[in-house]
Structures are given as C-alpha cells and as structure tokens.
Symmetry: C2
Subunit: 380 residues, 2 copies
C-alpha cells in the first residue's frame, strides 16, 4: 500500500513539475495596464507606502502571505535530507495553505543549517511576508531559531512541528476524553518520545489542565536529577513526573489513562496497552508506521485510538490546524502566537465534531467549517 | 497625466491587494489527493531527491522560479525607500514574469542594506529558486553583491538595473543605427550619467563594437587621471574617452552621433541636440521625466528618439528583456549570464522589428514573438 502511494506520488510529481504556481491577478493586455501595474503608476504606490508604511498591507500581497521555511534537517521521518529534498514537502504545505485557507504561501528552503545564518536570513526576508512558518528543523536548533525570531520580528513565527503538533494532540485529547467520560485534570498521561514536539506538547497539555504526566525516552521515565538530561529534558523533568517515577515504559504506562507515542514503529506492544487503565486512550503518532496498529491496540483493550496516518480514521495531522490558524492571525493582525491562541485553536478543532465517538473524534481536513472555526478562534 | 495614472494605479492597487497570488496546481478534494500531495506520498519524492539531487528540477517548481530580490535602496526614481515601499515594484516584475514568460517569480524584499547580510541571505535562500534577479539595489553595493553571488551560486544571478538596461540600450542602438544608416564602430557616442547602469551599458556597447565613447557626469567628461574618480568611474575612464577629452557635456556632445541620457529631467537642451552630428540619435532615459521631450528633440534635429516612458513611442524598458532572457536561461540550464548571452539577447530584441523606422525601432512588450525570440537567443 505504501509502495503504491509512493509510486503514484512520484509519478504525479513528474507530471506536475511543482504543485504550486504564481499567478498574475491583474490583466496585462495593453500598454495602459503596464502603466498601472508597473512604471510609472507603481511609483506612486511605492511613494505612498514610503510615507505611510502601514499601507503596505492595503496595497500589496504581503498581508496574505506566509513563508514556509525549512533547512531540511528533520524532514518527515527521513531526517537530515537537505533543502532540495525538503522542497516537495514545503510545496505540499503551500498547496494546502492555498486550498484550505486561501493563503499565498511561499516555500523557502535554506542552504544552511547554521542557527546564526538561519536567523539572519529569516529576519532579512521577513519584510516580504505576513507570517513565518518554520518546518522540519531539527531539535535543539529549532528552539533557539524560533525563540530569536519571535523576539525580533513583529509578525507571527511558529515552528509547526512543535506547536502545530501540540495543538492537534490537545484537540484530539479533548474529544477522546469526552468519548470515555474522563476529566483532563484527573487523568494519568504518559508520553513516549521527547523530540522536537515533546516540550511544546507537554507545555500545552499542562496549560490545558493535565496534572499527572510522565515522559519516557529511551532511558525510561524522565525525572529531575536523572543523569545526562539535556536542556530540554531538564525542563520536561521540571514540568512533569511529580511522583519522581523512574523505570522503563512498561512500568510507567501501567494504569495510565492516556498513552501518546511520538517515537517509533512497534514501540507499543499489546501487553503494554493491556496494562493501562480501563477505557484507555492511545495516540500512536509515529509516521509512517505507528507504534501499534489500530486493530491491535483495540484488541488489547484501547477504547479510543488515533494515529498520524491519513488512511486510518482519526488522523492527528498538523494540516488540520495551520491553514485556519494562520488565516486567523493574518486577518486579525496578530503579532505573536500565544498559549491562549493555541488553547483556543485546539478547542476550536475539537468543537467541530459535535458528538465525538471512538470511530470519529478528530475532524478530517474536509470537515465543513473546520478552517473557518479555527480562524475565528484566534481572536478569542 | 502622471497624476491621473498615479491616482488610478493607487486605486487599482487598493482593489487588487496584491498583483500576484499563489495557486495550487493540483486538486485536493479527497483524502487520496492529500496522500499524494502531502504525507505519506511526498516522503517518497523527498527520498528520491535526497538520493538523486538533480531530480529536484523534475519533481518541484524550482526550475521555473526566479526570486526578484531588492533591498529597496534605489527604487525607480524614488531612491532609498526601503523594503515595504519596494514591494509593489517587485510584485509588478513578478506579474510581468508570469504574464510574458510563464515564470513563477517571487518578490523578496530585504530588511537589511548590509552587503554581507544580503549576500548571506541570498545564498541561504538560493536552493529554493532557479535564478536570482537583483533589483533596485544602489551603487556601488550592487556591484559587489552581484559579483559575490555570481561567484558562489550555480544559478543565474543578474542585476537588472545594470544588465537589463545595457541589453535594451544596445538593442535600441542597433536598430537606431539601421534607421540612420551608420555603423556601430564608426559612431561617436556620449553618455550623460554614470550610475548603477553606466558601467554595464558601457561594457556591453564596447563589446558590441562602439569605439569612440565618452561618459559625462556632473563634473564633465570622465577621463583617466581626473581628480576624485571612484572605483567604477576609474574603470569607465579606462574603457572610454581615448582622446582624453575634458569639459562639460555641451563641449563633449558637439558632433556626437549618439547621445544617451541616464541622468535627470531637463539635462538636454535643444541647443545641445542641435550641436550634434547630422542624423543624430537621442536616448533620453531619465524617468519619469526624460532629459528632453521627444517633440523638442525632434524639432532640434534629432533623427531617432527613445525614452524610458511607456506613453511615448520607442520605450527603452528592461521588461522587454528579462522575461524572455530568464525563460531561456531556465530552459537551457544556463548557470551564468555571460557577455555573449547579453549580446545575443540585444540582437534578438532588435531583430523582432523587421524594418526599423524612426517611428518604430524598439518593440513593445506585446510585439508578437518577442519573448520567444529572446529566450531562444540565450543558447546561441
């Protein structure tokens, strides 16, 4: 099945030669048109903006644009494959931006993986765009790059792999809890994996009310004082695991209400799922092969299951969020992506499903009203 | 008249809110479409490019794209108005790229005027694009920026204000000489003004056969050893003025066959034109108000007249060249813009007018076959 999609996708990409294109919105059919679109008429427009800089959003495409920026260092599950190989992914994001939110998004793949140069470059090109979406940049560089850009620029900057994931995971969790009838502040939640998204997901879940949360990496549960924790894991240890639990996933997941995997294929056994609390929730988000297949998880007793795959029901997919989120930020002149905006976006996505069930608790990309609801949620 | 165009252009820009837009070329109407455009299918495309980098041009939009890059330091006749105010001009260029050569051009305006940062930035974003057009960057920074980018990148980099202007001036001169029946290697040519375009125009005209050429700036004729010449004017002095002539324009232009102005409104008096050789050629390219109005120049005896304005006949306009030139370079995998390419492009533009007359010796943007002829000329 994957081979088939892979083959078809490559074939289609050869035909398309690019999934996006520029279009001139204006007719240029006679000299008079040129005098308006270009010189001498455009000079008056430039002069007006030079005198009244805020007019740039009334007179150019800037206000409707997003730069989708990647250095190709952490692309999908493929790792550090560089800018050229990252380009088809960024083009796909741009096509989705246009299709679902009418945003003019431009793929910018970078020929450098140096933090300083990336920051300098994005700051330099920022006057061209209404917002910056960072994509597929590896940890821990992604943290510093995002932070410095957010501090410097007065347009929204968001690393989708972190915050897009966090928002969708929370949206899924909100509805999954409705299905099983549990309260967010009473659950025990275990997350396996602590990559680029780990910190953002953790922060947002806690902000949303999760109180009992443990994060597990290859060395087992993360707790304060554990040997060899890097900067981010130290913060994770501070934020979670109040009981100071140690040991492997099989110990930690016992009795858990929610198990979230952002790790690797096969990381969750049937036995592991069986050891969880009744009416358990399993998000197996490794891509393309999840930690456990939905059927297997269900047989082992999981009540509600999500994956990252489009060919299973209930896909946890960042694309559910970013088109509407950026639409809302551009329309409402938002300068920074705050925690409150993220919480509201998650609630908005969850709210699109009126009566969540185990079969259908996460909307599809084509759910009517999804993008509009997310866009509206931005302003609170 | 200008006021009217200015008013109409501003009004139209308010309606348009951008003269260009992104378009998704691919249908995204069902989940299956998403699996091809985005994950998981796009992963196979990325993997293929990671293994075979040359495939990027078969599988993405890169090969059909140009970044139109400006720091807003020398925009039209408006000077250093910055990136936001430059954006409408760059959008106009991008709209023209699409309309006349089906090229997907992206306006990139920069929030820095530091040479080092501009070079770093353009190198960083270069993997996203098939070519780089530099625009409206002031001298002398434009020389170093272009040179360093050309040395570093393996895609065409061209500063349009220099080389686009040079190509069109030469194209116009080739046909103007046909009209008056003079040979390029026998004319005396005087150019008034030595800005960003001066060096490029001079080099190309000499390459094309001009032997007797004098350049005049505010201090008069430029000659080797003149006090206070900057780097570029020293080169100009070496290349031109073999007779070591000094003195003001009124002295130097006496008896000239060709007078080219890239200076300022009103720089050419009727008396000056009257002092030229019989069957004189006058290119009054200052914008928006030329050095002398065509009617006045004709009354003073000029046989052939061109301006930079679209509302007079025979407009010297860079847009006649760049869409076709970049189309040709992208299609034919050209890595560097050579002098030979520029000479051929000028010949190609001139050749579009089969029987040049004083009334019509420079093609309009809408001349049938213009862009195709220029594109074909690139490969020689």
């Amino acid at each position: 099945m994957f081979d088939e999609i892979a083959r078809e996708s490559i074939q289609k990409h050869r035909e398309w030669k690019g999934k996006i294109e520029m279009r001139a919105k204006v007719a240029i059919d006679q000299i008079h048109d040129l005098t308006l679109v270009y010189t001498p008429g455009v000079g008056a427009v430039s002069k007006l903006i030079a005198e009244h800089p805020e007019e740039v959003d009334q007179l150019t495409w800037r206000k409707n644009t997003v730069a989708v920026v990647s250095d190709g260092s952490a692309v999908l599950g493929l790792g550090n494959i560089g800018p050229a190989a990252a380009l088809p992914v960024m083009e796909g994001k741009c096509a989705i931006f246009k299709r679902f939110a009418n945003i003019d998004a431009v793929p910018i793949v970078l020929g450098t993986q140096d933090v300083e140069k990336i920051v300098t470059t994005v700051i330099a090109i920022a006057p061209s765009f209404g917002a910056i979406q960072l994509e597929d940049i590896s940890a821990p560089r992604c943290f510093e790059i995002e932070k410095r850009l957010q501090e410097t620029l007065d347009i929204p900057v968001m690393h989708d792999d972190q915050h897009g994931t966090a928002i969708i995971v929370l949206a899924g969790l909100i509805n999954a809890l409705k299905v099983v009838g549990k309260q967010i502040n009473q659950i025990r939640l275990v997350m396996n994996g602590a990559g680029a998204a780990g910190l953002a997901v953790t922060r947002l879940l806690i902000k949303a009310g999760v109180q009992d949360m443990v994060i597990v990496d290859r060395q087992g549960a993360i707790y304060t004082g554990r040997d060899g924790l890097n900067e981010e894991k130290k913060i994770l240890a501070e934020l979670t695991n109040r009981a100071h639990q140690s040991g492997p996933l099989t110990d930690v997941a016992r009795g858990a209400d929610v198990l979230i995997g952002v790790s690797a294929a096969g990381a969750f056994s049937s036995e592991l799922i069986r050891s969880m609390a009744p009416k358990s929730i399993v998000f197996a988000l490794a891509n393309p092969v999840p930690e456990i297949l939905p059927d297997e998880a269900r047989e082992a007793g999981a009540a509600v299951i999500a994956t990252g795959r489009s060919d299973f029901p209930n896909q946890i997919n960042n694309a559910l969020c970013y088109p509407g989120l950026f639409r809302g930020m551009l329309d409402q002149n938002i300068k920074k992506v705050t925690d409150e905006i993220k919480l509201r976006a998650a609630q908005a996505i969850a709210s699109v499903i009126k009566d969540p069930t185990a079969e259908h608790f996460i909307p599809s990309m084509f759910e009517p009203g999804l993008m509009e609801t997310v866009a509206r949620s931005v302003s609170g």
